[in-house]
C-alpha cells in the first residue's frame, strides 16, 4: 500500500513537472516556420551559402513571459518578423528565475544559434559574458546599454525618457484634477526609471501646477513585472486620492493598473512599450495612448544586420513615439497636438530637459 502511494505521488509529480517544462520551452515555441528547412537555403542570404545549416535565431526572455503583451512579446515579434523575412525559424526560451539567465543563453549556444536575442536589462551581464565566450555568435541585448562595445554584441536601447516625456506632456494637458500618477515596475531597471522621470518632467512641462504621484513595485526582479494584483490595487490607491490620468509601466503589473483604471469613469490611462490598445483590450475604456518603444522593428533590423554579416556592436538607438489615440481622438484637441509636435521637435533637437539621465 505504501509503495503504491509513493508511486502515485511520484507519477503525478513527474506529470506536473513535465507540463510545467513543456510550457517553458518546447511546445508553443513553434515558430514562424514559413518554409521547411530544405528550402530555406534558397531564400537565405548569400553570406552563408557554403553552410547548409539554416540561420538560427534564439530569444531568451526575462522573467516576464513571451506573451506578456508588452516588451518580451514585442521583441519576440521582431524575431519572428526577421525569421519570416529570412525564411528561417526562431525559437525562444522563457526565463523562470533570474538565476537561469546563463543556462538559457547556453542552451542556444549549444544548439548552434547564429544570433541570440536576450530581452531585458536583467540579462545584461549574462549576455556580455556569453558574447565574450562565443565571438562567432551575434548577440542582441534589448534594453541593455553597452559600456564597452563588443564587436558581436549590440545593445538595443531607447530614449525611454523621451517617450515618457511625450506621454507626460499629454497627461499634463488632459488632467483636470492636476494630479497625474504612475504605477511602475521596479527602480532596479534603469529604463523604467527613465520612463518615470520623463513622464513627470513632461507633465510639469505642459502644466506647472501638476502634482505627480508615482510608485514602484517594492519586490525584486522576479516579481516586479508579474504582479497585476498589486498594479491594480496601487492604481486604485492613486485614483482614490485624486489622480485622473495614470501611466502603467511594468509588464503584467502595469497592465493590472490599466485594467483597474478602465473601471473609473472619466479617468485616463497610458500604456507602455507597445500600443496597448491591441494588447490589453480590457483597458480600452481609458487608454488614451501608449508611450511606445519600437522594439519590434529594432530587433528585426538588428537580426537582419546579423544575417547579412553587416553587424555593428555597441549601442543601437531604437525609436520611440506615442501610440494612436484611438477612441480618444476627439479629446486630444488640435492645440494639444500642436504642443506635442513642438515637444517632439524640442526633444529631437535636444533642447528639452527630460530629467534623464540625472544630473
Amino acid at each position: 500500500m505504501t509503495a503504491f502511494n509513493k508511486r502515485f505521488a511520484i507519477v503525478f509529480a513527474v506529470l506536473a513537472i513535465f507540463a510545467a517544462a513543456c510550457t517553458g520551452s518546447d511546445e508553443p515555441a513553434a515558430t514562424t516556420a514559413a518554409a521547411p528547412a530544405t528550402t530555406a537555403p534558397a531564400e537565405a542570404p548569400a553570406d552563408d551559402m557554403d553552410d547548409a545549416e539554416p540561420f538560427k535565431i534564439g530569444l531568451v526572455t526575462d522573467t516576464g513571459k513571451v506573451d506578456d503583451k508588452s516588451f518580451n512579446q514585442s521583441a519576440w515579434e521582431g524575431a519572428q518578423e526577421a525569421a519570416a523575412a529570412l525564411g528561417v525559424e526562431a525559437n525562444y526560451i522563457e526565463t523562470e528565475e533570474a538565476k537561469d539567465y546563463d543556462n538559457n543563453i547556453g542552451l542556444f549556444v549549444e544548439d548552434g544559434a547564429n544570433v541570440i536575442i536576450t530581452v531585458g536589462f536583467g540579462l545584461g551581464d549574462a549576455t556580455i559574458a556569453a558574447a565574450q565566450a562565443n565571438p562567432d555568435i551575434f548577440f542582441i541585448g534589448v534594453d541593455q546599454f553597452q559600456g564597452e562595445a563588443l564587436p558581436n554584441l549590440a545593445g538595443l536601447i531607447f530614449p525611454e525618457d523621451q517617450s515618457g516625456f511625450l506621454a507626460g506632456a499629454l497627461a499634463g494637458m488632459l488632467t483636470e484634477t492636476n494630479i497625474v500618477g504612475a504605477v511602475l515596475g521596479t527602480d532596479l531597471v534603469p529604463p523604467v526609471v527613465a520612463f518615470k522621470e520623463g513622464w513627470e518632467h513632461g507633465a510639469r512641462y505642459t502644466n506647472p501646477d501638476v502634482e505627480t504621484i508615482s510608485t514602484y513595485h517594492p519586490g525584486g526582479l522576479d516579481v516586479a513585472f508579474g504582479d497585476p494584483d498589486w498594479g491594480a490595487a496601487t492604481a486604485r490607491q492613486a485614483l482614490d486620492q485624486g489622480a485622473d490620468i495614470i501611466f502603467g509601466a511594468g509588464g503584467a503589473t502595469g497592465n493590472g493598473a490599466l485594467i483597474e483604471i478602465a473601471s473609473q469613469d472619466g479617468a485616463f490611462c497610458v500604456g507602455v512599450d507597445t500600443d496597448q490598445w491591441n494588447t490589453v483590450p480590457e483597458a480600452q475604456p481609458c487608454l488614451v495612448t501608449s508611450a511606445m518603444k519600437l522594439i519590434t522593428p529594432g530587433v528585426a533590423d538588428l537580426v537582419a544586420q546579423a544575417a547579412s554579416g553587416d553587424f555593428a556592436g555597441g549601442n543601437y538607438l531604437g525609436e520611440v513615439g506615442l501610440a494612436p489615440f484611438h477612441d480618444f481622438d476627439d479629446i486630444v484637441t488640435d492645440d494639444m497636438r500642436a504642443t506635442l509636435d513642438d515637444v517632439l521637435a524640442g526633444l529631437n533637437a535636444g533642447e528639452i530637459d527630460t530629467g534623464w539621465p540625472p544630473g
Binding site: F8, A9, F12, L15, K65, D229, A233, Q237, D240
Partner: protein
C-alpha cells in the same frame, strides 16, 4: 452526521475560564481605541489619502483571508495545506476562462469555486485517502497548477467586459473614515467578509467545528465517540478548497480583471503566515490580513507622497518580521501550539 449545530451547551461552556479573558479584553479594547484615534487623526489631516490607504488595506486583505481560512480548516482537521497558491492559480484560471467564454462573471465565480473544491478534493485524496506526505501533496498542487495554467493559457483571450465593480451600500458608504473602505466594495469582498464571520462562529461554536478540532487534536479519540475521521477530513479539506477557489475567482474577476501566468504571486504562501499570525481563527486571520494589507498600502503611500525617505522595502518587510516575532514569542511562551495531530495521516485500525 450533523454539520450545522443546534445550540450545544457543552461546546459553549468548553471555552476556558472567564477571568483570564477579562484582562485580555481590556487590553484589546484599549488597543482598538488607540487605533481608531490614530486613524481618525490621519483622516482629519488628509481624508483622501487616508481613505485610499484604508481601501487598499481592505482590498489586499481579502485574498489573504480567504486563503488563510482555507488553510485553517485543513490544519484544524490535521491536514497541512501548502497548496493554497496552486488552488488560487487554478481557480483564477478557471474563473477567468469560463467568465470569458460565457460572458457571465457569476458563472466564472461558480467555475472558480468548483475548481477550488476539486483541487481540495485532490489534496484530500492524496493526503487523507492515500496518506501521502502532506507537504509533498501540497507541492504537487502548486506545480501542477503552474504547469497546467501556463500550458492552457490563451493569451488572446480577454474578459470582454468590466470586472466586478464596487457596489455602494446606501448611506453606509457615506460614513466618514470607513465608508469607502468597507461599504463601497465589489461583491466578492462583501461575500468574503460575511464568510469570515460565519466561519468564525461555525468553527468555534458549532458541532462541526468541535468535531473538526477533535480530529485535528486526537483523531483516535474522535473515532471512539463515533466521528468518521476519514470522511470528515475529506469533507473539510474539499470545502476549504472552495474558499481558495473563491479567492482565485476574486483575484481574476474582481481584483485584476484578467488572467496572467503565475498571477497569484506567492499570496497563497503569505496566507499561511496570516493564518498562523491569526491563531487559526477567522477573525484573527482577518486582523492579520488587514495588517499585511495595511503595510502594502502604506509603503505605496510613502512612495506616492514622496515625503518620507524610508525605503519602501523596509515597510514591506514589516509584516514578515512581525510574523517571525509572533511565531517565535508564541513558541517561547507556549501560548500557541499546532493541532496535536497536524501532519499525521490517520489510519483506521
Amino acid at each position: 452526521m450533523t454539520l450545522i449545530a443546534g445550540s450545544d451547551p457543552e461546546a459553549s461552556r468548553a471555552k476556558g475560564g472567564a477571568s483570564r479573558w477579562t484582562t485580555r479584553r481590556v487590553w484589546s479594547l484599549a488597543g482598538a481605541a488607540v487605533l481608531v484615534a490614530v486613524v481618525w487623526a490621519f483622516y482629519a489631516w488628509n481624508g483622501a489619502q487616508t481613505t485610499a490607504v484604508l481601501s487598499g488595506t481592505v482590498r489586499a486583505a481579502t485574498l489573504l483571508v480567504l486563503g488563510a481560512m482555507c488553510g485553517m480548516i485543513g490544519e484544524r482537521s490535521g491536514i497541512v495545506n501548502i497548496g493554497i497558491e496552486g488552488q488560487f492559480l487554478m481557480s483564477a484560471f478557471a474563473a477567468f476562462t469560463i467568465a470569458s467564454i460565457s460572458g457571465s462573471l457569476f458563472l466564472g465565480v461558480v467555475a472558480g469555486v468548483s475548481t477550488g473544491l476539486a483541487m481540495g478534493w485532490m489534496l484530500a485524496a492524496m493526503a487523507v485517502g492515500l496518506r501521502t506526505d502532506q507537504i509533498i501533496a501540497g507541492t504537487v498542487l502548486n506545480i501542477a497548477a503552474l504547469g497546467l495554467t501556463s500550458f492552457f493559457y490563451d493569451r488572446g483571450r480577454s474578459l470582454g467586459q468590466l470586472k466586478y465593480q464596487a457596489i455602494e451600500l446606501g448611506p453606509l458608504a457615506d460614513l466618514p473614515v470607513v465608508g469607502t473602505a468597507l461599504f463601497n466594495r465589489p461583491p466578492l469582498t462583501y461575500l468574503a467578509l460575511i464568510l469570515v464571520i460565519v466561519l468564525h462562529v461555525l468553527l468555534l461554536r458549532s458541532v462541526w467545528g468541535m468535531r473538526t478540532t477533535a480530529i485535528g487534536e486526537h483523531p483516535g479519540a474522535a473515532a471512539t465517540v463515533g466521528i468518521d475521521v476519514i470522511r470528515l477530513r475529506y469533507l473539510n479539506v474539499t470545502l476549504a478548497g472552495g474558499l481558495a477557489g473563491l479567492g482565485g475567482a476574486y483575484l481574476a474577476l474582481e481584483a485584476v480583471g484578467t488572467f496572467t501566468r503565475a498571477m497569484s504571486g506567492g499570496r497563497g504562501f503569505l496566507a499561511l503566515a496570516v493564518m498562523i499570525f491569526g491563531r487559526r481563527t477567522p477573525l484573527g486571520a482577518y486582523a492579520a490580513a488587514l495588517f499585511f494589507g495595511f503595510t502594502t498600502a502604506l509603503q505605496n503611500q510613502f512612495q506616492l507622497n514622496d515625503t518620507f525617505d524610508i525605503p519602501a522595502q523596509f515597510v514591506g518587510m514589516l509584516p514578515f518580521v512581525v510574523t517571525i516575532i509572533v511565531v517565535a514569542a508564541a513558541g517561547l511562551f507556549g501560548r500557541m501550539r499546532d493541532p496535536a495531530a497536524l501532519g499525521q495521516p490517520y489510519e483506521v485500525r
